[in-house]
């Protein structure tokens, strides 16, 4: 049991982080906190992908010898995919911040409760 838990510890960490972010996105009433939750959520998925790529005994994926064997280098593909996901996360955050600024200019607050109150 302990061996099982230890051999898959990367998954436990990512699931915990992801649910932390997920809870913040849904449960928090402050819009900036939701945005921070969203960032944690996306980062957790990045952590998951990166941990797929690891191979025990593998080194970083930069070619060094004359006859490379696949087992000697960690898997580069998840790193590439996650470069894309990081850029997507940055872009989403940028657009969300811009939208938050518009919300703030309109309602002068970023608390969801107060905004909903002022709409009614």
């Amino acid at each position: 049991m302990v061996d099982y838990l230890i051999s898959k510890y990367n998954y436990w960490v990512y699931i915990f982080l992801m649910m932390l972010g997920f809870y913040a996105m849904m449960g928090k009433r402050n819009l900036v906190k939701k945005l921070i939750g969203m960032n944690i959520f996306q980062t957790a998925i990045i952590l998951y992908y990166i941990s797929i790529g690891v191979k025990k005994g593998g080194t970083l994926p930069i070619f060094m010898e004359t006859a490379p064997r696949a087992a000697d280098y960690i898997n580069p593909l998840p790193h590439v995919l996650m470069l894309t996901a990081i850029v997507v996360a940055v872009s989403t955050t940028g657009v969300a911040l811009a939208v938050l600024l518009m919300i703030y200019r309109r309602y002068k607050t970023l608390e969801e409760n107060e905004i909903l109150k002022s709409i009614r």
């Binding site: 997920f22 996105m25 819009l31 939701k34 969203m38 959520f41 996306q42 998925i45 998951y48 992908y49 797929i52 998840p78 995919l81 894309t84 996901a85 997507v88 872009s91 989403t92 657009v95 969300a96 811009a98 939208v99 938050l100 518009m102 919300i103 309109r106 309602y107 905004i115 709409i119």
Partner: protein
Amino acid sequence: MNTMQPQAVILIVLIPLMSSYAIPLLGWRWKGSAYFIALIAIGASSVCSLLLLWTVLKQGTIHYHLGGWLPPWGIEYVIDPLNGFMGVVVCGISFLVTLSSKESVEKELPEKKVRFYAIYLLLFTGLMGIVVTGDVFNLYVFLEIASLTAYALIAIGEDGAPLASFNYIIMGTIGACFYLLGVGYLYIVTGSLNIADLAKLLPPLYHSKVVLIALAFFLIGTAIKMGLFPLHVWLPDAYTYAPSAVSSFIAPLMTKVMAYILIRVMFTVFQPSYSIEVIPLTVILSWVAAVAIIVGSIMALAQRDLKRMLAYSSVSQIGYIVLGVGLANKMGLLGAYLHILNHAFMKGCLFLVAGALMYRTGMRNIFQLGMIHRKMPFTMGALVIGALSMIGIPPTAGFFSKWYLILGSIEAQNWVFVAVILASSLLNALYFFRVIENAYFEVSRGHPEGEALIEPNREEVPLSMLIPILVLAAGILLLGLFNERIISGILIFALPPGF
């Protein structure tokens, strides 16, 4: 096959992509050019997509290897009849909607034209990229392009638009991240990202829990993105507050493309037998869809804002498409495909009419429309055709897709769904006749909001707005008349193997 036809596969995405880079460059000098660049790019893309559909139907599936790398290593574009059909639908509707956007953008967003069209074209690029790709991760990238542009376009609307857009950002990101997680779960058990390769590698792994969870997350992710009933909360606000050029673009297309992703994942990445037999997934989906149809219609009945009513009606119509997918038999699936096409036409037409009303009178409350048919007779005629089609009156297109869905329900021996479809047609009739009544007859009698606000002089919208509306309305009638030919000529080939 000559060399030019395969290159059309990439041009379908490349032309709008490169044009969207050109818009800020040229728009810096000539502000008026943005609209024409967007229109020409979408037009060129439409020509390519028609060419592709024709080629696919004649010669079978087209594969295009980007960068010259073979599929499991590189990215490939795959065009099969389903893809080709979706591409033509997206291109055709986008072209008409873009054509009509000029005047309303001039009026609503005069100072943001250039960047608006750059983002608008990128949204089109994202949708086309989703449709033509044959790689699950590439699909995610284009999904994010389409989502980001949609967030931005919705946020520049009126009143509550930024808040609606922020809710959409939160929900949409959850959806997209769930999709990404599904990709990651499939990747960890197969090591591949190519759809054809995944379809080959997955069957021996169907007992695995990872594959089951992957499918679950794919479904939840796409369901959020397309606004299926319990997860639709972002949709009505977003469609209501968006600028009218945007809502008439996003409403017909965004949810349809997401429904396409759902079909693609359920029937191509996974074999139909897995989605149907191994887990009772399709049963769950069709029951959720049935609830969505009824709830969406009832919520639409409670609205007095035309755009919001149409948005809730979208929730219910998405239910039809998912119901057809969930029935998972030949008739049901044909009904879903046909409804994707028909609903794109109907919603495009109705949202354009709503935009035209906003443009000419500035009104959206359906109780204030009294006698507006004298002012805008052609627009209102289109509204009536669209509404009749939504209800499902025989010569219009909407009847036939509902007909196939009912046939599918009967084939599945499920009489509840037949009742649901009939009941929702009744509810559709209720809320659309309310609009028609207000538009054609005396000011709604005794209603507190019904005032005679319309001067009865004839004042149609400009031709650039009227022509797309009339073309879409005529399209609804033509689709109804030629539905048999569309099904036997195109859609029958788009069914997954084994149907």
